[in-house]
């Protein structure tokens, strides 16, 4: 698997400048927009970039698979299909984690610049930004894990169409779950709404991480099965 991961890294390295550039732009725009309002949601930029990264890297890597028959050629290299799948998942997780860490760091560094808006750069805000970014990344990763088997089964173009439908469906489900009349939404607001307890936030994030890990394992198994059965 290490060999497949190293090979995958060669592609990811070429993606870093463009994704980081787009991420930085989104971070700056969202951070400035929220800070100028004196809003407390300074973490919006970091969260947006953390949520965006897994989906962007998944699509970019799938796009590379599609280029010039690279996917078929790669299948002739001394890498098993399981290696290829595991390396892909590892790459997406690692890249997403690095991007999330980078945005949290950036957010922490830029925090003192917004003291004039009345927002103190306290450890509490840094902690909340970290948790919010991690949760955004994990939720986005869960969406990626749901979509990834489609990419290995149907290829990039077909899977892109299907995954848009899947994401729209998930969006509708999320909106229904988080509507004010829903007890789940009320419970979430009670524990993670205004002035949340750091321990509760940590537990909530750990819960999402466990869920994401379980989904990752299931998705990886399904992807391996469908990819092994696929003609290339």
């Amino acid at each position: 698997m290490k060999r497949a991961f190293m090979s995958e890294l060669a592609i990811v390295r070429t993606l870093v400048p463009s994704i980081a550039g787009v991420g930085l732009f989104i971070f700056v725009v969202l951070t400035l927009a929220n800070a100028s309002d004196g809003d407390a949601s300074m973490s919006a930029g970091a969260c947006a970039v953390s949520a965006m990264s897994p989906i962007v890297v998944m699509n970019s890597l799938a796009g590379y698979d599609n280029q010039n028959g690279w996917e078929r050629y790669r299948a002739t290299l001394p890498l098993s299909r399981k290696d290829i799948i595991c390396a892909r998942y590892l790459c997406i997780v690692a890249f997403s984690a690095i991007m999330a860490c980078a945005t949290v760091l950036l957010s922490t560094i830029t925090l003192p610049f917004f003291d004039h808006t009345g927002m103190p750069s306290t450890g509490q805000i840094v902690f909340e930004t970290t948790i919010a970014s991690a949760a955004s990344m994990l939720i986005s990763l869960m969406m990626v894990f749901l979509a990834q088997p489609l990419f290995f089964r149907f290829g990039h173009m077909e899977a892109l169409r299907l995954s848009v439908g899947l994401f729209a469906l998930l969006g509708c489900l999320a909106m229904a779950t988080l509507s004010s009349s829903n007890p789940i939404s009320n419970w979430l607001m009670s524990i993670a709404g205004a002035n949340p307890n750091p321990a509760v936030l940590g537990c909530l994030c750990a819960g999402i991480a466990v869920l994401a890990l379980a989904l990752c394992a299931i998705s990886c198994t399904v992807s391996t099965k469908v990819y092994r059965a696929r003609d290339l």
Binding site: R3, A4, M6, S7, L9, A10, I11, R13, T14, Y64, Q67, N68, G69, W70, R72, Y73, R74, A75, T76, L77, P78, L79, S80, K82, D83, R228, A229, D231, L232
Partner: protein, 293 residues
């Protein structure tokens, strides 16, 4: 002697119109085997089956004496595939990568990858490591693939239409590389090609596939040295066809070309009929399209 590649009775239904049917072929070390056939005859599908890219419905694929198809254990597949080099008709690397980055993409997959060998080939082939794959000409793309295929101590090279679209000089260079590759008698090349003149020069054996089935598997000498094309009138052709076993005829407006398996025997029996050496192209055309007795 251990066969480097062996397909035994491989069958695979690809679509309603096309199937591989009972494909059997074998490659011994030191050979360049030409794999010919019309477009859609099944050359690439056979290669895909040999490389484990598709699962055969029946039959077995053996690489270096070990069974290696899509169902083989991962470790076996890894080990055996590390001994194969592949060159395709189009450069298969992501187009935005640079030549130098391709090594980082392909190299880590091979336990026996040699950076020095790759750098040597890149230098020898005149490839600029900073050029993007999308900016490479067809010939340069083929050379980049060849550099990858030869940098990990492969025992078997598989070329799928790799000479298609290359200019004569680039083809010549490629064929020289292939001849050097098999010169030690330990390596083999499977060369799938439409350009049969390449095989006239390099192939030790020629295998022809048509409509998913192997039509013939012959030493190249049996085609280019032994067989002949007799240029006859209609009457001579009828006589020749009646007397010579395995003859095939192609009718033209004012003459008939007859493929005879043994040119010398035909010349002795019919000295009045001119009989030229056959090229692989002639042989293929008459076997696939010619009329038998």
């Amino acid at each position: 002697m251990q066969k480097l590649l062996e397909l035994k009775g491989v069958s695979r239904r690809v679509s309603d119109r096309f199937s591989l049917r009972d494909v059997t072929l074998a490659m011994e070390p030191g050979q360049i085997v030409g794999f010919v056939g019309a477009n859609g005859a099944g050359k690439t599908t056979t290669i895909r089956a040999a490389l484990g890219l598709i699962k055969p419905d029946a039959g077995e694929v053996h690489l270096l004496g070990q069974r290696c198809d899509a169902n083989a254990p991962d470790e076996t597949q890894r080990h055996l595939r590390s001994r194969i080099g592949l060159v395709l008709d189009t450069c298969p690397f992501p187009s935005t990568l640079k030549v130098g980055q391709v090594e980082k993409l392909v190299g880590p997959a091979y336990p026996t990858w040699s950076c020095e060998t790759f750098a040597g080939f890149i230098d020898r082939f005149g490839l600029d490591p900073k050029t993007k794959v999308k900016d490479l000409s067809r010939g340069m793309g083929m050379k980049l693939q060849l550099a990858c295929a030869l940098s990990h101590n492969a025992k078997l090279l598989v070329l799928d239409e790799a000479t298609a679209g290359l200019d004569p000089m680039a083809r010549e260079e490629l064929l020289d590389e292939l001849l050097a590759f098999v010169a030690d008698g330990q390596h083999s090349v499977l060369l799938s090609s439409h350009i049969t003149s390449d095989l006239d020069r390099t192939a030790d054996r020629v295998i022809c596939i048509d409509n998913g089935s192997i039509v013939f598997d012959l030493p190249r000498e049996d085609i280019t040295d032994r067989a002949g094309i007799a240029h006859c009138t209609q009457a001579q052709a009828a006589e020749l066809m009646a007397c010579v076993e395995g003859a095939r005829a192609a009718h033209h407006a004012y003459s008939v070309d007859v493929l005879v398996p043994n040119r010398r025997e035909a010349l002795e029996a019919f000295p009045e009929i001119p009989c030229d050496r056959a090229t692989i192209d002639d042989y293929l055309r008459l076997i696939l399209k010619g009329a038998s007795k």
